[in-house]
Symmetry: C2
DNA sequence: TATTCTGAATAGACCGGTCGGTCTAGGAGA
DNA sequence: TCTCCTAGACCGACCGGTCTATTCAGAATA
């Protein structure tokens, strides 16, 4: 039951961290929600911080699944693949109750004070943008983007604006800002192809 | 000294809330930083939440100053006025140590759990977008934007993307994402004027 | 196969410290 | 004197984390 318990904690951590953030999530609440005793928690995790970092790793596993599902889809042209990734993310947010992106939430909450989390989350973002940038480079080569477009900068732009839209979507519990942002971005990026 | 004490608390609250967020900011730390005894705090504020809400009000006073300084500047064309507002904000972020926007930070941290803050912060955002939208409408009338452009939607887009860039800027302690976002947005919005 | 051993995992009482918040007393200006 | 404000001791609750006892599956031994 060892792996099972750890999995259970990480799984609950995904939803509880997304909703409560880091500081408002008590270990005790997590244990009550999962029925796991405290001793088990500190057997599997060195600290609350260690736990949260592992939850982020798990979150990134899901992100990578999304990236793979969208960016490897050979039935789509490159730009549509990139957009598909964010549409898949939007669907995940919907399933989670329109609470937006955990990376954005934890990044805002913790990066003012905790450099470990700031670096961790920035690393996650930069991994994602790297994948998106590769996809956008393909789009550029296929003429979907202007020949002088900068895929890395465009990818960062896309992700950053997405995170802003995700915040607004979290405030309003409404996915509309996400779609509006994608419409605007892809219209703008495509226009001078 | 009554007003003075309250002012002092709000002033310290501005910087401490921006850096620490809500849950990581202890009343005690605030009192030690200001030299104010606990009794005074609870004389002026009903609770920690009440205090934070008033800090947000104070933050919005500064935002309104920025809005006024930028959007009323008759030496600039409307679109340049809008951009100026965000450039003023960027300078404020710089002074505060590149910690981004307090509304975005508190919005992400608290909106999952606390509807009072979610509503409050969404209200702040919608007030700002309303001003920006008026300015963009003027731009549309003057031919700086396409005749069929939707100023309200464009204003929301602008603010949301800005908040995303502010998060990234906070993570990296670097204003570059803010400027990149403005460049992209205004190039895109202007292109088909 | 039966028995012993062992280390991982479970279980929760318990710890000091800190949390937000209350209370009462004193001081200052009207 | 009366009202506002300062002042800080004090409160119970809860925080993250430690500690020790116990359980239990499976390897080792015979």
């Amino acid at each position: 039951m060892a792996l099972n318990t750890k999995e259970q904690l990480l799984e609950a951590g995904l939803s509880m961290l997304l909703k409560h953030g880091y500081n408002d999530l008590g270990i005790q609440a997590l244990l009550e929600a999962t029925g796991v005793p405290k001793g088990s928690f500190y057997h599997h995790f060195g600290s609350k911080e260690d736990f949260a970092l592992q939850v982020i790793d798990r979150y990134m596993q899901e992100v990578h699944q999304g990236l793979e599902a969208a960016l490897q889809d050979q039935t789509l042209r490159p730009l549509e693949r990139a957009r598909r990734f964010f549409e898949l993310s939007r669907e995940k947010y919907r399933q989670d109750g329109h609470l937006g992106c955990m990376l954005g939430a934890l990044g805002q909450e913790l990066s003012g004070v905790n450099p470990t989390f700031a670096r961790k989350i920035e690393d996650c973002f930069s991994v994602v943008t790297r994948h998106i940038a590769e996809c956008l480079e393909e789009a550029r080569q296929q003429g979907q983007l202007a020949p002088d477009a900068d895929p890395v900068e465009l990818a960062n732009l896309l992700l950053n604006c997405w995170e802003g839209a995700a915040l607004r979507s979290r405030l309003l519990r409404d996915p509309a800002p996400l779609d509006r942002m994608l419409d605007f971005y892809f219209a703008a990026a495509t226009r001078d192809a």
